[in-house]
């Protein structure tokens, strides 16, 4: 936990504009020269319900949401259910304040809207005593009244931001600029007025008794603030993807929306269709006809894609699918993160089906690995899946703008031109030997596209012979299976030998203990390792992205080099640890697990504590809502 950072939490109800207000505030902090990282917590509900966004900002690098937070802006919930009723949902009107107190750090600052949260509520919360106990500094402000006076009630968010800026001693310049970009006319005028009014009145009315101030920093290069969903969508655009088909489902909808909004200006096609079976089948059809295509969904929707996924594998149709995990099983917790769909994605679809699976750990990796997924899918004619989660999907962080300054790669991989097709092998009737196992390289037989001369063949989900005819001949079956199976080995070889590793390492090589993680838990693990080493432990980390084909050599070397390793993942059944053991076939006695599945992502402190309890053999139970699974034999 460091003192030179701000973790600002804005809390209210769904539909109160928390999201857009926080986006702009995060951007203002980024423009002021800070690194930012956002975390979004919201219910599966359009109006009302407890919602917050956290923005962590610091001059140093920030890889996670951090631990707890130190500044609360509690706005009230304008869609709260009647507080007089003993409702199932509790007293929603005061939730923006009451629900957030547990995580507020000592010395923290609270602004609450006294226009919405009354004296009785404050008394009921015992706020005064708690504030004294925790050294919180409380600033009640009539944000609603202020907003109403100069504009409309909804503009109270702006009043809250103005008050925040005053208390943190921030300049209003960047906030004003962003407002000018976002709105105009009377609305802009009113908001600017409210912003200044709030800023000035806080400065006039209060004697500040808190130490927290906005950190200051400077960027070496221009920064862009974007989410994991942006990064995946942009990776797809730069890989030449121009077809997306989907069906709305949280959190996958973000990628679908971003591409649907951008494709019309890029000559691309987006199709929202009747269900996820159709969505994946459309992507297969578009790819079959010669377009770089993708589809995706979240757990339940992805389950419907199981069959088209197998069809793409069997017909060797290139395909990229996206799986945005949320807490399951079944409908689970639609807006909460979890890494519980790994086994679903690894094994869904019948038979010895093969797919490639990447799990990016942060925003840069999400971009890189999406591009890699398209390269691999089109070179090897194999379905490639990006698995990520609600956390990575919605979190925003700043990235160097220059990171994206790259050449697009619309190449169709192992697809032949008509000229090449004329020279290719055909059967006696003139059918193209599309699935020719004899000349295949790395398991890949180049393909033709419908409409090309001399390229006709049959694609089928049945086992088939070289021109695509259905065949149950045993020799042909073995040739075709072996050729298809060879692809994964070839891909592993390419990833190991020709490309930069997609695994990420932290800490010193000669460390005694290891922490292994995958996907979006990476950032919290990275920070935990730094802290553990500062505290005198000897720990290094490995964050794995290649789920299939598994990076056996890299992971083996890592596990061999440490005494013990703790596998950190956001699910209840240690799915990734299971994969490790299946792929490595040993080390069962060396691997323990730290699991979290309460709907909130790991904070670094929880990993630090988990490590100390687990590997550093401290005889105590973790205080966090996590579970430790011992090593085999323990």
């Amino acid at each position: 936990m460091s003192d030179d950072e701000l973790i600002w939490r804005i809390a209210g109800g769904s539909g109160d504009g928390i999201d857009s207000t926080s986006q702009n505030f995060a951007k203002a902090l980024m423009r002021s020269g800070l690194n930012v990282f956002t975390h979004r917590h919201y219910p599966s509900r359009i109006r009302g319900g407890h919602t917050y966004v956290e923005i962590r900002a610091a001059a140093h690098e920030v890889q996670s949401r951090g631990d707890g937070y130190n500044f609360l802006l509690a706005l009230g919930d304008s869609f709260a259910r009647n507080p007089q009723e003993e409702a199932y949902y509790g007293n929603e009107e005061i939730k923006p304040l009451s629900e957030n107190l547990d995580d507020l750090r000592e010395g923290g600052v609270i602004i609450y809207d006294e226009g919405l949260i009354g004296e009785d509520d404050i008394e009921a919360l015992d706020l005064e005593a708690r504030a004294e106990e925790n050294d919180w500094h409380v600033y009640p402000l009539d944000l609603r009244g202020l907003a109403k006076e100069h504009g409309r009630e909804v503009m109270r968010n702006t009043a809250g931001v103005g008050a925040t800026a005053a208390l943190l001693d921030m300049e209003l310049e960047h906030i004003e600029d962003l407002m000018e970009d976002a709105m105009g006319g009377d609305v802009l005028e009113a908001n600017i007025e409210i912003l200044h009014e709030a800023y000035d009145s806080v400065n006039e009315e209060y004697e500040f008794n808190h130490d927290l101030r906005a950190p200051t920093g400077e960027h070496d290069a221009e920064q862009a603030l974007l989410s994991g969903s942006n990064a995946i969508a942009y990776g797809a655009i730069d890989a030449g993807c121009r077809f997306i088909s989907g069906y709305p489902m949280t959190p996958w909808t973000d990628v679908f929306t971003i591409l649907s909004q951008n494709f019309p200006d890029m000559g691309g096609v987006s199709e929202q269709v009747e269900d996820e079976i159709a969505a994946a089948a459309l992507a297969v059809g578009a790819s079959h006809a010669g377009v770089k295509a993708m589809s995706g969904s979240s757990g339940g929707g992805f389950a419907l894609m199981s069959e088209p996924l197998g069809l793409a594998e069997m017909t060797e149709t290139p395909l990229v699918l996206i799986e945005a995990m949320r807490a399951g099983p079944s409908t689970g917790m639609p807006t909460k993160p979890e890494q519980g769909d790994l086994e679903h994605v690894l094994y869904t679809s019948q038979g010895d089906s093969q797919r490639v699976v990447f799990a990016p750990g942060n925003i840069e990796e999400a971009y890189e690995q999406t591009r890699l997924a398209f390269d691999i899918a089109w070179d090897y004619q194999i379905p490639t899946i990006i698995i990520y989660d609600q956390k990575l999907s919605g979190e925003n962080t700043n990235v160097d703008v220059e990171f994206f300054d790259r050449e697009p790669s619309p190449d169709l991989g192992s697809t032949l031109t008509e000229e090449e097709l004329r020279e290719a092998a055909h059967d006696n009737s003139g059918k193209f030997k599309r699935f020719n196992h004899e000349d295949a390289e790395n398991g890949v037989a180049p393909r033709s596209l419908p409409g090309q001369k001399d390229g006709r063949y049959l694609a089928t989900g049945n086992e088939h012979n070289p021109v695509g005819h259905i065949s149950e001949d045993p020799d042909n079956r073995v040739h075709q299976m072996d050729r298809r199976l060879e692809k994964l080995e070839s891909i592993r070889e390419e990833l190991d030998e020709e490309r930069e590793s997609t695994q990420t390492y932290f800490g010193e090589d000669d460390a005694e203990y290891g922490i292994i993680t995958w996907g979006s838990s990476q950032g919290a693990v990275e920070e935990a390792i730094e802290r553990l080493n500062e505290n005198g432990h000897s720990v290094k980390g490995l964050s794995v992205s290649d789920m299939v084909p598994f990076p056996e050599r890299e992971v083996t070397e890592f596990v061999e080099s440490v005494d013990e390793a703790m596998v950190v993942e956001m699910n209840a059944t240690a799915q990734f640890r299971g994969l490790l053991q299946k792929e490595l076939g040993r080390f069962g006695e060396k691997l323990t697990s730290l699991l979290k599945y309460n709907g909130n992502p790991f904070e670094p402190a929880e990993i630090v504590e988990g490590y100390e309890v687990n590997l550093a053999d401290e005889d105590r139970e973790p205080t966090a809502q996590v579970r430790i699974e011992p090593a085999a034999g323990d």
Binding site: V269, I277, V284, A289, G310, E418, S429, L449, G451, R456
Partner: protein
Amino acid sequence: MSAFNAIGDEREIDRDEYTPGIEPQPTWCPGCGDFGVLKALKQALPEAGKTPEEVLTVTGIGCSGKLNSYLDTYGFHTIHGRALPVARAAKLANPELEVIAAGGDGDGYGIGGNHFIHSARENHDMTYIVFNNEIFGLTKGQTSPTSPKGHKSKTQPSGSAKTPLRPLSMSLNAGASYVARTAAVNPNQAKEIIKEAIEHDGFAHIDFLTQCPTWNKDARQYVPYIDVQESDDYEFDTTNREEAAEMMRETENVLNEGTVLTGRYYVDEDRPSYSQEKKAVGEMPDQPLAERYFDDDAEWERSYDLLERHT
């Protein structure tokens, strides 16, 4: 220059070109109605001026799904019920392709029913042939969505308690712009209807009665059949929705009583196809999407140019 030169090829076409030079010979049972569809297609395609390599035939699963094994075009034999979404996307990816989708009544009206409704609704420019034999054939004779009420099968031993689905009415209501029914026993009409469907700019649905001599002897051979356009007993306007709906209802009502009515039921030449609609709202490029990947001069947009909104 196009990368797909089989498309729009104006040469003379021999109908034998559509018969694969080597195996496989059709594996359908002797007397199967599916032979009728294959034969009609082989005649209609050359008459419509289509060469084999500009045609993509997309099929589902079942006896009917094997159609493209015996028709020498580009083929995609997909999975049960999913021919339409695959076919739709291929058409969007390369609108110059002639796309024909086909499957059985279980495939199209049962497991793929949702796709059927939405494909008709969207009016994709393609031909959809449903081999309707009122039975599941390849799984050995179970009751299908179009099986008559009371039909006994291994899975409904006391007779089906369900009234059969109304394919023509469903198609009309969903939005198909060409709806016809033909029968394998009426080869000339079948060929003409398929040709019209291919030439129609929109979703052309043909409910094709294909007798199953093995599992559905009740339906006999769909004879005698009546062409509603040629018979003096029926008078309706195929461009009038209400009249078409009434005629469809009548046709569906009498089928299981032994009166086999066939012909064109609804034709709407004015409704724009889905590609036209999508282009009209600016969500589909004029150039076929698939061509762009072969165009060396194509300028590919970059995400780098979108970053201003994030800075």
